[in-house]
Structure formats: C-alpha cells, structure tokens
Amino acid sequence: MNTEKQLYTISVYTENNIGLLNRISAIFQRRHINIESLNISPSEIEGVAKFTIVVNMTEVNVKKIIGQIEKQVEVIKAYFHNFEEIIYQISGLFKIKSELLFEERQIQNIIKESNARIVTVNKEFFVLEKSGRKEEIAELYNQLSVYGIMQYTRSGLIAVTKEEMKISALLETYNN
C-alpha cells in the first residue's frame, strides 16, 4: 500500500442534517489532518448532500478516515479518489479596479488568454471569474497580482469521478 502522502478527494454522501459537518470535521481534527478544501452541495439524488473534501494524506490513513466517516449514522457512503480518478474544477473570483482595464492594456490580453469571464463591470471595479484546475487559477492570480487585486477568493474543489458511484443503487438496497 502507498505510504506516500498525496492529495485525495473524499466524497461523502449524506442525509441532509444539521451538525453533520461538525461531526465529520471532528474526525479530521482529532487526527490533526488539515482540510485543504471543502465543498458541500446537493448531489444527484434528491435530499442527499455531497461533501467534497480534499486532504493530503497517505492511502493507509485515508482508508481509516473513510471508515470513521462511514460510521456516522447519517452518512450514506464515503469514497476516496486520487486526482487521476476524478474530473475536477475550482473557481476563482478576482475584483479589480475598473480603471486598470483601460490603463493596462495587457490585462485585456490576460483575460482573453486565460479564458476568464467578466462577471460584472461598473465604474469602480470589475469582477473576473475563472474556473479550472488549481494551477490555472494560481497562474491567473500571479499575472493579475502585478497590477493589483482588490479582492480574491477561490472556491473549494468540486469533482465528479470517472468511475460510477452507484449511490442510487445503494440507497435502493437500503430501502429494501
């Protein structure tokens, strides 16, 4: 088994429940594992929420964590995948002074080349949105930071897996 640390996404399908985030994050806290990124959203199944958690861990330990997550009463199923096994996206938002758009012609090129999208423009500022891999967002950040960024934020990683999850089938077996 791989004993090297690497980035894994942990996907947790859960019943929608107040307090479950607390319960799940406590599992990481106890073992001093830093959560690199966290996203909670509805899943493909009605009433079922999906946590996407990114951690830097060994395979041995990620398996133990999966066991402890699945043990929680309201967790339906938890999976872990390395980055080769998923398709993922991260979104970044950049708020930049509007005057730069006209004063610094290079910025327009950056926007074009990076496939970033202008979300809104007004007199004071404009907002850029860029979705992609972590490195792409970072690259755009580096290019823009030269000119000054008023605000920057990056979303948690969201991912779908290459393999089939079969959550619906699993729920079907639970219902019977």
């Binding site: 859960t14 406590a26 106890r30 066991g67 009463v73 309201e74």
Partner: protein, 577 residues
C-alpha cells in the same frame, strides 16, 4: 360539535392524543420499556420532572447526587442488563456534567440515551441562563445526537435515539430538548424505529471470509484467540465457548471481555494487556494465527504496535468496519455480529486440542505464579495486599458476584484475580479509564439486577471522585457492597512515579478522611479492616448483609501491580517485577 358514531367501519389510522412535549418524552420512555432512569432536575427540564411525578408508578426516577453519577449509574444498568441505560439532566451545567459518562459509554460501546433540557428555542444562541451548546460539546463523544425544538419532533427523535443506542455497535446518544418544545402540545403517537436509511448497524459478512478464516484456523499450529466485549454485547457467549472448545484454542480477554467465558474454563488463559497475564502477552508474539473477536486492539492491549503479533496471520471478527485495520493489519476480516459469525464458522472448524501449544501457556503461568500471583494472593509479609481481598471476595461470593471496579491499581488487581462464573460480571471503565465510575455504576448494576450480588471495588482516590453517590445508595436502599482498598495513595500514578520518575511522588499521596464515619453519616453499615486476621470475617459479614455495606481495607501503601508491559514497549517485554 356533534359527535358522530361510526359503526361497522374500522378507521385505520394512527391513534393520536393531544399531550405536551414533556408528557410525550415520558410516554416515549414507557413505550421503550424503560422502567428506571437516572438524573437530576433543574430549570430547563422541569416540565419533564412534572410528568415523571405523574408517571412515577411506571418509571422510577433515581435522583443521583451529581449528573456524572447519573450517567455512570445508567452505564452500570446497561452493562449488567444489556438494555439501554437512560440519564436525564437539565441544560447548562447539568448537561456538561453528563459529558464524562457519555465519553466513557462511547469508548466502551455502552448503550445509553441521555436526555437534556435546553433553554427555550427563542433564546438559543443568546448566552441565556444555563444555556450551553451541549449538542456541539457532545458531538465527538456520542454515536448520535440531536436537538429538538418542536414537540412534534420528540417521538421520532427518541425512537431514533433508542434504536441507534442499542443497535449494531452500541453507544451513547443525546437528545437535547428545548423548554418550549416540552410545554408545547401536539398530537402524540409513537412508533419504534427499526431502520435508518443511511445507517447499517450490522455489516454484511463478506462472502468467503468465513471459509478463509476457517482455513487459517484449521491449518494453524499455534492459534490464539483474543476476545473483547463484542462477545458480551452480541450475547455470543455460548457460540464463543463452542468454538473455543471445538478448536481447542487458548483464549485470552480484554478487561471488557472478561467473564464472557468463565474464569475457571481450562482454555481461558487470562487477561491481555499492560497488567494482564504473562503467558497471553508473551505468546501473542509466538502464535501463528491470532483470532481477534469483538475487540479493537486498544493500545493498552497491544503495547508497541510495530512489535505486536507481526509473525501471525490475523483474523478479526468485528461488527464495526472502522475497527478493521485501524490498529492491526488484518489478513481476514469477518464482518458481522459475533453471535451470527461464530455460529456460522463452527461447522467449518476442525476439532483439535493443541495440547503442546496450550502447555506453553501453562508453563508461563507457573512462572507468573511463582513471581507474582503467589505473593499477591498468599502474602506472608506484613501489610494486606489488594489481591488477597479479591481472593476473599471470590471465596465468599463463590465467583457469582458482579464486580464493579473503578480505575487504577485495584481495578487491575480485581480484573486479574476476580473469579467469574457468569457473563456480564465485570463492570469497569476500560477505554476512558474514568476514576469515579465504580460507585455509581454499581448502583445502576444493582438496580438492574437486584437478584445479583454487586460488589463495588474502588481505590481511595476514585472513590472520592463520586463519593456523594452514597446518598443515592442510601435514598434508594440499593444493597451495594462497597469495598475501598485504601493505600492512602493514587496508587497507579504512584507506581509509575516509582518506576519511571525516580520516586518523585508528585501529588499522589492522599490524606484521607474517616471513610467509615462518612459511610455511617449516610446510615450505611461500615467497617474498617487493617489486619489480615480480620479480613475473612469482615468480608463474610459484608456479603451476608441484606443491605448496603461499606468495607474499608487498609492495604500496603506502596504495593505495585505486576506483570507490566511498560508504556510503549512490546508485549514480549512484559516485566514480572
């Protein structure tokens, strides 16, 4: 309104009644067949107490002297009966005082439902009087918890609570109920919970795992069974004994598994772990197949993991998939309820006796007997030993008593030397090591099983952590036999200070009160023994008593518990002195 009488027509619908949330709580408990609960009243839970007053012929509420005592009593109740223990408290400090007992129940897999009152829902989050986020606080130490703010949600929450507490690997749950939900009226009906979509209490046994396990066991030359509380929790004692006997495999226990197989059984080779027996610890590292059943490889059992049974193939019978491979890498995991899996594997197991291998255990026992046991049980030097007190209790109880221990030296000695004929006879705080557990747990055990002799054995330290529960014993007329093995020290810590901190006895010496006077202050018969020649008679008098009895035995001050696997050492490095 005109009343219509419908004849010849059955209306199929749930029968509902309009009652308050607080009455609903009590009615839910009755529906779950709860007859005794342990608790302490206070502002935010008062409506429930008002209902308990009305329903006192159905539910007996035991007033503890501290909420922690209530949880330990509920645990003792659960451990001896196999039923869910119930503890109830008010918000704020009442709720936080439950936390130690909850944590203890969580790590020792004890089914317990805790009900706490909470400030009215419009005050939540406002730092109201006696408001505390008990759901947040108890999250890491509960199997499940929730807060209820509407009366209508009470029945479903409690039904779920009882189901989760007792199913699968049992554990504590907490339901926090706001005061307005207790007052609110609603249409009550109760349906027991038997299924939660996302929750799999008993995992499916993987196809082929039983066969793979049987193959390893049948081929083994030196198989060794280590068992834990899983046998007791799944009531698999009979199936377990059948397996041990058919396969002729020496078997050793964790302290929570003790008594699942009688102490006198020829294949019971003793206790595992830090202060366990010499043979089972040593031979863990010589067996070729290690069969773990309903135990979780706690570090007090395994010692240094890197040097734990690395030569052996490991089979793990386990109900909780998260325990498999958590500490010890398993070759074959047999998931499922021990009763079912043991029953299923029995026909696949060849009869065997492993006499030579078993002889190795006997040989090592002889060494331990000469070096440790003889001196503990038949001391010739001055000063009473803890071991001879336990031996005397064995003689007087004929091994039929339930022994409830606290935490420390007396606990290890009691576990090592107590004789158990019956299952569910060793009630102790294993995983959490909660000093103060013993006395209140004994109250719960005695009330759950009044026909059994229940002997609480504590040290002078732990006894004083929950000594106020003597008041509960007195008020409830609970015929608990209370033994305090007094060495005027926090003995286990002192032992470590002696062995590993060059005898710097930092804050371990206890200047103790007159324990007999305290017991008598609670109108409990009491006696103190300081000499060997007084011991047998005093124990006999205690055991003969029909009511509660307190016996203080002054034991040697600096006695040590051996054998010992030093912290962080391998089980092979177990020390006899």
């Amino acid at each position: 309104m005109e009343t219509q009488t419908i004849t010849n027509k059955k209306i199929i619908s749930k029968v509902t009644e309009r009652i308050s949330g607080s009455e609903a709580i009590v009615r839910c408990l009755i529906a779950e067949d709860v007859k005794i609960i342990y608790g302490y009243p206070g502002g935010a839970i008062m409506p429930v107490y008002d209902e308990l007053y009305k329903y006192q012929d159905k539910i007996h509420h035991v007033l503890a002297r501290h909420e922690q005592g209530a949880t330990h009593s509920a645990q003792g109740f659960a451990r001896i009966s196999g039923k869910v223990g119930v503890a109830i408290a008010t918000s704020g400090p009442g709720a936080t005082n439950l936390v130690t007992g909850i944590a203890d129940a969580q790590i020792d897999s004890t089914p317990m439902v805790c009900i706490t009152g909470q400030v009215a829902s419009h005050l939540l989050g406002s730092d109201a009087f006696q408001e505390t986020d008990i759901v947040g606080i108890s999250t890491p130490v509960t199997k499940w918890n929730c807060q209820v703010t509407r009366a209508a949600d009470i029945p479903a929450a409690l039904a779920k609570a009882f189901y989760i507490a007792k199913s699968g690997r049992p554990g504590p749950v907490l339901v926090d109920i706001t005061k307005d939900a207790q007052f609110e009226e609603f249409d009550f009906s109760y349906e027991k919970c038997s299924k939660i979509r996302s929750y799999v209490p008993i995992p499916k046994t993987v196809i082929g795992s039983l066969e793979a396990a049987a193959k390893l066991i049948n081929a083994a030359k030196k198989p060794f069974i280590v068992w834990g509380q899983g046998i007791v929790l799944s009531q698999a004692e009979e199936q377990f004994k059948a397996l041990v006997e058919k396969a002729g495999i020496p078997a050793a226990w964790t302290i929570l598994g003790a008594s699942a197989l009688p102490t006198s059984h020829p294949l019971n080779v003793g206790m595992l772990g830090m202060h366990g027996n010499y043979a089972p610890n040593k031979l863990t590292n010589e067996c070729d197949v290690l069969i773990a059943i309903g135990m979780r490889f706690d570090d007090r059992v395994t010692g240094k993991l890197d040097e734990y049974a690395t030569q052996a193939k490991v089979i793990h019978f386990e109900i909780d998939p998260a325990e498999v491979d958590k500490n010890v890498k398993t070759d074959v995991a047999v998931l499922g309820d021990a009763k079912a899996t043991l029953k299923a594997i029995l026909p696949l197991i060849d009869e065997n006796s492993h006499e030579e291998w078993h002889q190795q255990f006997k040989d090592l026992y002889e060494i331990e007997y000469e070096k440790v046991i003889k001196g503990d049980l038949y001391p010739t030097k001055e000063g009473l030993t803890m071991g001879e007190v336990i031996k005397e209790i064995n003689i007087q109880s004929k091994g039929d008593a339930a022994i409830v221990t606290d935490v420390g030296q007396h606990q290890m000695i009691a576990c090592r030397y107590a004789e158990f004929n019956k299952t569910k006879s060793n009630i102790t705080s294993g995983g959490l090591g909660t000093m103060g557990f013993g006395l209140p747990a004994a109250i719960g055990a005695k009330m759950a099983a009044p026909e059994r002799e229940v002997v609480s054995i504590s040290g002078d330290g732990g006894y004083q952590m929950t000594i106020q529960e003597l008041g509960t014993i007195f008020q409830q007329k609970a015929a608990v036999k209370i033994v305090v093995l007094n060495n005027d020290f926090l003995g286990m810590v002192r032992q470590w200070q002696q062995l590993f901190f060059e005898k710097r006895y930092a804050s371990t010496e206890m200047v103790n009160p007159n324990f007999v006077a305290i017991a008598e202050g609670y109108y409990i018969k009491a006696k103190k023994v300081t000499k060997r020649e007084e011991l047998a008679e005093a124990v006999a008098e205690m055991m003969a008593s029909k009511e509660a009895y307190f016996l203080e035995v002054c034991v040697e001050k600096e006695g040590n518990v051996f054998p010992m696997v030093p912290s962080g050492a391998s089980v092979s490095d177990i020390r006899l002195e």
